[in-house]
């Protein structure tokens, strides 16, 4: 547990210093933990656990857009779990349930817990369709077609800078739309 969290902190420091691959690895590493916690939270609130992926994606977006509030001298896990808890409470509240989220939901994952398969999900995908065309195209090219920033720029005859701006704006407006639901 400690080791895992130290590893996250190290990866996040690398990410902040500009290492995109480390950032990718970090997000991949935290996702199963977030997924397990979201499933537990939903189950406890009497909700079907199959909505957990929406919550996971919601948390990942918040982590991404709020990572400037992480203090690089502090461990990463408490920061991550605070964001995750907040998003889970928010999601349960939107589903109209009284919410009791146990801090331990995030502090521990049982070893050997089956990692649920990633399923294509509703909320982010639905909101993606409502984005301005350029943001949607860039997001889809990078996320779904796994094209690089450079390739995406060529494909749409845009500058790389414009692709980066459209990508970030797309992610930010996705988050704003999810919040506005």
């Amino acid at each position: 547990m400690r080791e895992r969290e130290d590893e996250w902190t190290g990866l996040m420091r690398l990410a902040i210093s500009g290492d995109d691959a480390a950032y990718h690895r970090l997000l991949k590493a935290v996702t199963p933990v977030l997924r397990a916690a979201a499933r537990r939270g939903l189950t406890r609130a009497g909700q079907p656990a199959d909505q957990s992926e929406d919550i996971v994606q919601d948390i990942l977006l918040a982590v991404h857009l709020k990572r400037h509030t992480w203090d690089a001298d502090a461990p990463f896990a408490p920061w991550l779990f605070a964001i995750a808890r907040n998003k889970l409470i928010d999601a349960l509240r939107r589903r109209g349930r009284r919410v009791f989220v146990n801090i331990d939901d995030f502090a521990e994952t049982l070893p050997g817990e089956p990692a649920a398969e990633t399923v294509p999900t509703g909320e982010v995908a639905a909101q993606l369709q409502s984005l301005p065309a350029r943001q949607r195209d860039v997001l889809q090219s990078i996320a779904v077609d796994s094209a690089s920033i450079q390739d995406t720029a060529k494909k749409f005859a845009m500058s790389e800078g414009a692709v980066r701006v459209a990508l970030h704006r797309g992610l930010a407006s996705l988050t704003a739309r999810l919040r506005g639901q």
Partner: protein, 212 residues
């Protein structure tokens, strides 16, 4: 969109850097404070006998108290903009202005007074105080909430209330130079009510404005 795909998009956006919350908050406070100063200069102005008043330690104490509220409240707001933060270890800072007021009141009690206690407490400007402090605090509160919105406060009502205290503290610092009531009893009564009003507005606005 599958989660792996979303992660790919997030990683591709890693180069984007948001400005630190402290920077955004400071900029917002500076802009909003200039609005409040404009309100102060056009509607209130510094009291005419300010040169004599400055020799009265109770006049000076008003600024010490209001700044002793505003400055810790700014620090606490910034702290609460981080998701894992709570008031623990920070809340006691808000006792500093309270302690200063208690010390001021005790000192005044030990001195010979021309006016009875009740008159000093009621003063002549209680209504002004309750009007102008919240009024000059509102632009600052709006800016403070927008600054905190750039962060990730997970206790939005508390963060909103602290933002209210910080804006009331700054507004009261302006108002103190206009008001001719200098008794710590007056300050402890009316400034406190004004600050609590603004803090309540902040606490109500927080959960609405500070969701992320």
């Amino acid at each position: 969109m599958e989660t792996d795909q979303l992660i790919r998009a997030l990683a591709a956006d890693n180069a984007h850097r948001a400005r630190p919350v402290g920077f955004v908050l400071a900029l917002g406070l500076l802009l909003a404070a200039s609005v409040s100063v404009a309100i102060f200069l056009t509607q209130l102005g510094v009291r005419p006998d300010v040169m004599t008043a400055m020799r009265n330690p109770f006049f000076d104490l008003k600024f010490v108290v209001t700044l002793a509220l505003a400055i810790p409240a700014i620090a606490i707001s910034l702290h609460l903009s981080r998701p894992e933060a709570s008031l623990r270890g920070w809340g006691w800072l808000l006792l500093i202005p309270v302690g200063l007021l208690v010390a001021g009141i005790s000192t005044e009690m030990m001195m010979p007074q021309r006016m009875p206690m009740m008159m000093r407490m009621m003063g002549k400007n209680s209504w002004n105080c309750l009007t102008w402090i919240p009024l000059m605090a509102l632009p600052i509160l709006a800016a403070a909430l927008l600054g905190l919105r750039h962060g990730a406060p997970t206790r939005p009502a508390v963060a909103g209330a602290i933002a209210g205290l910080l804006s009331a503290g700054l507004a009261a610092t302006l108002y103190a130079s206009h008001c001719t009531d200098d008794s710590p009893l007056f300050v402890a009564t009316w400034y406190t009510i004004a600050a609590v009003l603004v803090a309540a507005v902040g606490a109500l606005a927080g959960p609405r404005v500070l969701r992320f």
